[in-house]
Point group: C3
Chain length 113, copies 3
């Protein structure tokens, strides 16, 4: 029955150029996100805004989406870690609510790891 | 610090046949969504319902998922724009809550664009 | 106008090894999920937790993400169906809120189907 309980977590999706994927995964390793999923070879356009004169991504550029699920308290360090990167390189980050059944797979960080 | 504020937005995901991708991206351009991401070569089955006798998608057909993030007020025009399309062609649209850190990349539309 | 109403549903995403995809889709067929989308050839690392000594996925293993949208009452049977599988094989499941415009495509099960 316990396996059927769902625990609220935060899902973070980072969309960046494929060449920068290790920046994102290194950051997730450093803040001890317990895992991530990568969807490769996606394409995109924008998101540019009113204050930018250039497209963030060229149409059809090879992008990756890095998806991770973390406890709420790990969202600010991920956001902080990405901010200087996003000031130099194109990319977006989405945060959304998600629930997971096996909490220990997402919240843990091994001692001394 | 300001970069760490998260702004609530709406994420729209449109799943359609690959041959129709420009219909979706043209619609998003027209309502001035500031960008989108496309995941290609996905497959699917359904969603058919009780009132339809045919499968919406054939198993393993080549589909695309078009993802965009927009302010709440752009959801109805996207939905309106897709309705006549969905009356003729298979496809589904999901709307969900998402938060983004750099609001100007998602809400803007350049004057005179 | 009716087409513009959005109905709250649950989105379930299952990430497993590609070799096990039919386990997930058979389960979804059995509980009469009305459809699903599969994103193939994704990669991942983790999610391992404090109580497991092994990585759930090897880095860069070929994974699939199976996405379905169902009414709330179908979440527990999917979770129950996956629990014994997840006790043997690596995999994760995310549940999140989503809204859909055409309810009949997601909640239906044909009589006698």
């Amino acid at each position: 029955m316990n396996d059927l309980v769902l625990h609220p977590m935060k899902e973070i999706r980072i969309i960046i150029s494929g060449e920068h994927v290790t920046f994102a995964t290194d950051l997730l390793d450093r803040i001890k996100a317990t895992g991530y999923t990568i969807i490769s070879n996606i394409s995109g356009k924008g998101h540019h805004g009113i204050h930018t004169s250039h497209m963030m991504f060229n149409d059809m550029e090879s992008l990756v989406m890095v998806i991770t699920v973390v406890p709420q308290e790990k969202v600010p360090p991920i956001l902080s870690g990405l901010t200087p990167f996003f000031n130099k390189y194109p990319g977006v980050m989405f945060v959304s609510d998600v629930a997971v059944s096996r909490l220990e797979y997402f919240s843990g960080s091994s001692p001394g790891e």
